[in-house]
Subunit: 118 residues, 2 copies
C-alpha cells in the first residue's frame, strides 16, 4: 500500500521519525532497550544510540532506565516519551488520512516495476 | 524552526520526498537537470539518477528531455511531473499546518543543544 512517511525535525536538528517511534513502542512493549532492539532486528548499540539521541534532544528524557523488579531492571517510557510518541502518531495518522486520495490517484499511475530505488 | 519532513511511498517502493520535490522545482526553474543540480549543489549524476528513478516509478515520465531552442535543449516537467509535485506540496503543506501546535509544544521542550544526531 502507498503510504506517508513522516519525520518531525526540531529547530535544533533533533528529529523523530518512523524508526524512533517504532523503537519507543517496542521499548514500551518489551520493557527494555535490548529486548526492543531484538524484536526489531536492530543491534543493541544502534537502538541505544537512537534512544540516547532522543533523550538528549529534549529537556526531559523520553526513555529511562529502571532497576530491580523480576527481570532485573530495564527501560520504560517517561510521561514525556508517551507524549512525544502520541504526538508523532497523531500527526502521522492525520497526514495519512489527508494524503489518502492523492496517494490513491498516484498509485493508479505507478509503474508495475519501477526498477532500482534511488 | 521545527518542521515536518514527508515522503510518499508507493506500493512498489517508489518514493518522492523533499529532495526529489526540490529537484523537480529546480528543473522547472532552470530548464535542465544539470543546471538544477548545480543550483542545489548536487552532482549531476545523482540528480540524473533521482529523476530517472522518478520517471521509472510511474507509467508517465515526470521530467522529459527537450531538444533545440536557444539553450540547445534541456529538461522540462511533464504535466504528470507538475501533478506529482503539486500533490506532494499540497500534502506537505497540509501536514505542516496540522502539526503546527504539536511541533510548537515539542519545541518548547527541546534541549538547547541536543548533541550529535543519530
Amino acid at each position: 500500500m502507498a503510504h506517508v512517511r513522516l519525520t518531525l525535525t526540531m529547530a535544533s536538528g533533533a528529529r523523530i521519525g518512523p524508526g524512533k517511534a517504532e523503537l519507543l513502542e517496542s521499548v514500551r512493549a518489551s520493557g527494555s532497550i535490548s529486548a526492543a532492539a531484538r524484536a526489531m532486528g536492530m543491534d543493541y548499540k544502534r537502538a541505544w544510540l537512537l534512544m540516547d539521541s532522543l533523550n538528549r534532544a529534549f529537556a526531559t528524557p523520553a526513555v529511562e532506565r529502571v532497576t530491580g523488579g523480576p527481570g532485573g531492571g530495564g527501560a520504560v517510557l517517561t510521561p514525556f516519551g508517551e507524549e512525544l510518541l502520541a504526538r508523532y502518531r497523531r500527526i502521522e495518522a492525520a497526514a495519512a488520512r489527508m494524503a489518502e486520495a492523492d496517494l490513491e490517484a498516484l498509485e493508479h499511475q505507478a509503474a508495475p516495476d519501477p526498477g532500482p530505488k534511488v
